[in-house]
Amino acid sequence: MKELLIIAVGAAVVNNVVLSQFLGLCPFFGVSKKIETAAGMGGAVIFVITLSSLVTSLIYQFLLTPLNMEYMQTIVFILVIAALVQFVEMFLKKSMPALYESLGVYLPLITTNCAVLGVAVINVQKSYNVLQGTVNGFATALGFTISIVLMAGLREKMEYNDVPKYFQGFPMVLLTAGLMAIAFFGFSGII
């Protein structure tokens, strides 16, 4: 149990997927304008990453390893991730059309969110078992959600600030992300 907790805290905060590993930056900048959509994106990513790390761990342990097909991991993982994203898209379109609309193109783009494939590959590299892998996936996605919601909060406040003309829009957001990364650096060394 303690070991799982260490994995979770490590993945969510210390090695935050966005702010210290720089994975999944596209939605981090793309959908962090409003807290609501950011949280929705975070929810979708949590769902996709948790499920995909579960499925990819299972496939790796019970399909690829016995068949000595470890080198096929990337292509199989991508297949699984793409299918899961497709499934999430269908699910959201049916049950939460408003969220589906506001996420827009970024929802199918979870497919190419490197954080998703990143987690699956990290699970393999650190040779986590299925449970550890799933916990790692969930915590990583939670870390993603934390940072994207924090970013959205900052950006909502930033709207009211008098930003110099050439820093308006993305330059300012990139600077903010850099400062956030430095702040998250404070967590390093905890584990």
Binding site: M72, L79, V80
Partner: protein, 262 residues
């Protein structure tokens, strides 16, 4: 070796097959009914996804029309033909869609306007416009001729001819992409039928215009006085024709001492 390849192929194929089946079942289960009209409307739209209507592509416009949020003639590219068909689908009368065309308000080509310095930077209007005096052209309002509008046009309707952008009226679909692209705000949409337009955007006073360009509007207001319909107004030293009032009489063309009403 061969078995390895076969195992790999079967593995990926099997995973793919399983995923395909799973998605197929899920797709049936989570099917969302799409408005039938939306599909029909989408079929009538041109499908360039140019964004000229202000919606994200043709799918976006079709959804908005089907919901009644957008008028049936919202597509500037399809024109009245598409509008009529869409109106039939929606069970509405098609409003009269005036065919528009883009017009570049500058005639200062390489011979008529000079260069005040050599610009050798990135060959792009937006970049060049950030240089001193808003570009190397002697007239700081004129067309820079690096073709940002040409790159933006999805219909091959605008070209750089002798240093200035010229619109091919027949090919232009009035999607408005070039209007948004031009850093000098030189391009505007005018009715296709309007025969005269002022091909200058210089807000400088007469003497400065004279020294910068042979074909600049000096704001003499002759056209303003001569126009029988009071359709021309000179604001900030440049004449502008109100398309609603203009009756294509052509008096302004003859009056203009600089011959820049084309």
């Amino acid at each position: 070796m061969i078995t390895g390849i076969i195992i790999a192929a079967v593995l990926v194929g099997g995973v793919g097959l399983f995923i395909g089946l799973f998605l197929g079942v899920a797709g049936k289960k989570f099917e969302v009914e799409v408005n039938e009209k939306e599909i029909q409307v989408r079929e009538e739209l041109p499908g360039n996804n140019c964004g000229g209507c202000g919606y994200p592509g043709c799918d976006g416009l079709a959804a908005a029309i089907a919901k009644g949020e957008a008028p049936v003639n919202a597509c500037p590219v399809g024109g009245s033909a598409a509008a009529a068909k869409i109106a039939a689908i929606m069970g509405q009368e098609a409003g009269e869609a005036v065919r528009m065309t883009a017009f570049v308000k500058c005639a200062g080509d390489c011979e008529k306007a000079g260069q005040s310095y050599d610009y050798t930077g990135v060959q792009d209007c937006k970049m060049a416009a950030l240089m001193q005096n808003g570009g190397s052209k002697t007239c700081s309002y004129g067309c820079l001729g690096y073709g940002s509008c040409v790159k933006a046009c999805g219909f091959d309707a605008i070209h750089i001819i002798n240093g200035i952008a010229v619109v091919d009226k027949e090919k232009c679909k009035a999607c408005g992409k070039c209007v948004a692209e031009c850093p000098k705000k030189l391009i505007e949409l005018i009715p296709y039928k309007q025969k005269q337009a002022v091909s200058c955007n210089s807000k400088d006073k007469g003497k400065a215009v004279m020294s910068a360009c042979q074909v600049g509007c000096i704001g003499c207001k002759k056209c303003e006085k001569e126009c029988p319909k009071n359709a021309i107004t000179v604001v900030d030293n440049v004449a502008h024709i109100d398309s609603e009032k203009c009756v294509n009489c052509g008096i302004c063309k003859k009056t203009c001492p600089r011959k820049i009403i084309l």
